[in-house]
Symmetry: D2
Subunit: 267 residues, 4 copies
């Protein structure tokens, strides 16, 4: 089975590989994760996302399953050969998360948690760094430097929308961040269309915009039954919606001379 | 020669026609406009833009050639058969602008100039309405209603970037406005990638993002010699850059089952 | 009776005079305006505001009484000796508005209506220029130059809140604009606390913040019966609330070695 | 000597006490801290701020003196009787910081570091929580709940400016946050005018605006020699500037029937 580091290297090879990352906002049960992984792997998606530790605005909402959630992700990896990415919220939990995950995610609210950035900079695993919704691109680039200065240069930069005055969408996807980041850094740039959309029906147009703008990958929230999700239920796609998006993505990639990296290629 | 109203009707026919609008920020000379129109028409672009009255932040900068500029646009139309769009800044100049132009442009700073909106609502010519950079989509939709309530229902809605905290680009293209506007209105949605980009090298990725997000057209600033333009010199594309963008646009449109409307079809 | 130009000159005399402007969002009836003017003049407020032409986001809402509203304002001036300020929305109505008003107001949505700015720059009457809610201070300063370059140098600059991601208030009062504008221009800076507050209970703290930040005046929406106002009903103060605010304002002004300009001084 | 908890209780007593917090951005040397503390205590300021761990956007800039800095603050406390507030950036350093400080500061970039919030919620020391510059007031209130749900209900809420499109100042002080926060929570609201100002000459007007808006305190950056400061040198006040601000503050407080809490009262 291919390692996450090989996957990272392939994305940055200049050969036009595009990275699809998908999965539920939060890990809720083994059945939920396994069904999702089975579906995603069946259409060739190489990376499974899912949160075991959830940074929630309110302390009263679902905070994630913790280690149990990490075990469910690992089980799904066993079943499908997919590569796992999950979020770590603090240094204390890093060892635990590293034990289970292939790629370490730093969430938007931790984009300037410099202690955590330095620590994952000393990890052997690739880091998926999400832009803070209140951070400029300049700050985002500096946050990546906190990681790379410690030695870890496998960083995936994720644009996931910023705070603006517009309220029709949850956040405003800063599509310009794609060319700006690619100009300033050699790291892959991933677009997360789910969080800026806020509702499922806007996810596909934002995702395709990211593809056409030159992103190196997409990270999309997918759930077997979004209506009953424990978090972000409005914005998660069901399997059919994601399948449609994936097929549109592949058509545009093909027009651009690029191609989705396949799970088969990795395994 | 086809009328602007026929062109509008074709865009809204549901047959997948895509509208390319291009031309200089400001009309500077007959030679400049004619050369641009000749180039654009040679690659099938049906609509020529160019400002004769320029709303400039500072009163000390170039304010446009006025009626002389309108005459130059009309001359370029004679030479190429292109359809002309130019901005009107106030009710007093509307009759004059209407005399020369095919499509009336309302600029970003006049998006809530309700007197002007009402007046162009009584015009026989289609209106290209740009979103105010400080306006929500809700306000933008309401501005279109000021026009349509007067009877004119040929409105092109242009997303051209909003004000945010990000300073790497001149404005932040709100790519989400494309699906949101298409959901709320039956009017075509055009993306202007030039003003949010602010610099030429970001125009193409933003333009292609607009295409993939489902926009019905693009409006791009093109100048024979951007370095010596009297306004917006950093963001205007030269002919070669625009030709490259146009060809990429057509590839993505084709992958989406759509096609650029051709000048030939109109003439 | 003192002229508006004398009032302007007194504010800019450096003698610490502070300008209170108050009155309803929109003129609704002679009784409404006269009662408000009577109350305001009884506590020494020298300037009465009231809109006869209202720039409303939606075409379906109350648009103002037009010339009839202007006549009601003039009648209130007759009754009280107050100075009148009212908004003009376009060049076509300027002569009409000039006939009735003492100070010409340019609203937030017209802050970059350059044709209108130039035209009021040739008026003999002082201009109250509101900052566009999407405009930077730099643009606001440039808009004032459009006026002053035409000869009219009696300009009152009004900070009234900008668009931000915060939704607890209607707009975000940019209190920093007070010192920044005073540093860049010699014109008086007025704070409008009503529009950023959006609700009556936040108006007083924002107003007092403006006073302490060094503003030269306040412009506050006051209505005899806010609950039944035809526009902005949530944010208008009733007489008692405004009386309380005025008295707090005077206490802080006194601590700062300044004083409210009195209607008596003017008449 | 009074404890920080007594000071907190006095601020919330409803008797009109106002809290002045001042000191350098970063602790740079014993001489710098001691001179500042000596000056501040001489004019009655009860709380000394100073950063030993600095969250800096770029990894290349001065990151603070660490424990040595904490010792310098403790030494200044010995010399003056002032109460100390300093920032903690992560859970790992919390025990260390708690050992030296009286009040624990959570910086703007950690406003949604939920792990850290929960942990200081179990501390016996009051927490000074700064609003994230990309966070809504709603989120800020939720962050305070992460602390209070763990038992610690001595929280000072600090408004320190948000990200907007305006670039004349470093951040836009959201002065409306003062009344909004006081309406939603029973905790004291402190205004930090230094970070939004970005330059020393705007600090005083913003500070006084905060006082007049009803804030319960001010937190101001003061340095013996701002030109040679290792961080934030443009915005720190020298002693003379701060003395002027303090005296203006006291005049406005007096007009409002409030008074600065004195160091004498505490010792």
């Amino acid at each position: 089975m291919m390692e996450a580091s090989d996957l990272f290297d392939r994305i940055t090879s200049g050969e036009g590989y595009f990275l699809n990352i998908a999965g539920p906002c939060a890990v809720e049960s083994q059945d939920q994760v396994s069904r999702t992984a089975k579906y995603l792997s069946s259409i060739g998606v190489p990376v499974l996302r899912g949160g075991a530790f959830k940074p929630r605005t309110s302390p009263d909402t679902f905070q994630g399953l913790g280690e149990e959630g990490l075990q469910m992700l690992a089980q799904a990896r066993e079943e499908t050969g997919m590569i796992i990415v999950t979020e770590v919220m603090d240094v204390e939990k890093l060892k635990l998360v590293e034990k289970y995950t292939d790629i370490i995610q730093i969430g938007s609210r931790n984009c300037q948690n410099f202690t955590l950035l330095r620590r994952v900079g000393r990890s052997q695993k690739p880091v998926l760094l999400k832009r803070g919704f209140g951070n400029t691109i300049d700050e985002f680039v500096n946050s990546a430097r906190y990681i790379s200065l410690e030695g870890n240069r496998r960083i995936l930069m994720v644009e996931r929308g910023i705070r603006t005055f517009e309220t029709s969408t949850r956040f405003t996807l800063d599509i310009s961040a794609v060319p700006v980041l690619k100009e300033r850094l050699q790291y892959p740039v991933i677009v997360d269309p789910s969080h800026p959309a806020g509702v499922a029906r806007y996810v596909e147009p934002l995702a395709l915009a990211g593809v056409a703008a030159g992103a190196d990958g997409l990270m999309v929230e997918v759930h077997p039954d979004p209506q009953n999700a424990l978090s972000d239920k409005d914005q998660q796609l069901n399997f059919e919606q994601y399948g449609h998006l994936k097929s549109k993505t592949d058509q545009i990639l093909s027009a651009m001379g690029k191609k989705s990296m396949q799970l088969e290629r990795i395994a």
